[in-house]
Symmetry: C2
Subunit: 118 residues, 2 copies
DNA sequence: CAAAGACATAGACATACGTAAATATTTACA
DNA sequence: TGTAAATATTTACGTATGTCTATGTCTTTG
């Protein structure tokens, strides 16, 4: 289990003190921005919310597609972005793919944004 | 739960239950995404962090400009985006302009992202 | 093995974004 | 009043983003 020196996006949000506590370094900011970027889209916000609030904490792509007026590849593209950012886990079971929200990543991010000053 | 006709970006984050509690509506997601978009840039993350963590909770643009290797108009542009999103308050005192972080907006956003499920 | 269904990838296109250079605006002060 | 300093606005430009259509991959089942 060799770990690379690079931080995955998920780990990035656990890197540092809250925004209001001390100034983010350049590299810290560059690690966190992709996480926020992944969330900063209405479709992706709804997708992650649907997955996170779904029965069992996971949802099948088949369920998600129908909730939007967008093409299937577009939804797939957004899910990929959330997955690559480390906000959604992906598991294939038979023909279906299930996504699950990484709540600890979301909570790290929330702590970073909303954490109180020293 | 009734909502006003127009939400300012700041209010948007206080609109609804946490992501993981119930699916965001389309309009809720469209209200929140701009807030995250404003944060989803390394320069703006560092700017808001510098302001929020600065002595007195506010910082002068003159202090901020020097911390970056970017042109003054570029910093001004980023500050404008954070201000228009409702994340930074702006006050002119003499020749200088001071920005102050809206911590309640940040905390609303954090609660939305990191709030636990039902 | 072939066909169908679920999901992902590739390519293309219009729009949005981050940045810089040049210029404008506002304020203080000699 | 005029000059300098602090900040904002305008314009321009390359790159990134969101979306679609078309196609590919994988899995199940007839």
């Amino acid at each position: 289990m060799s770990m690379s020196l690079e931080l995955t996006p998920v780990q990035a949000a656990a890197c540092c003190a809250p925004l209001a506590r001390q100034p983010l370094s350049e590299s810290e900011a560059e690690g966190i921005a992709p996480l926020l970027k992944a969330l900063a889209d209405p479709v992706r916000l709804r997708l992650i919310s649907m997955v996170a609030s779904h029965q069992g904490g996971e949802a099948c792509v088949c369920d998600l597609n129908d909730a939007f007026d967008l093409s299937q590849p577009t939804i797939s593209h957004h899910l990929k972005i959330l997955h690559e950012a480390g906000l959604l886990d992906r598991e294939k079971r038979g023909v279906w793919v299930y996504y699950r929200a990484r709540t600890e990543a979301l909570q790290n991010l929330a702590a970073l944004i909303g954490g109180h000053a020293a």
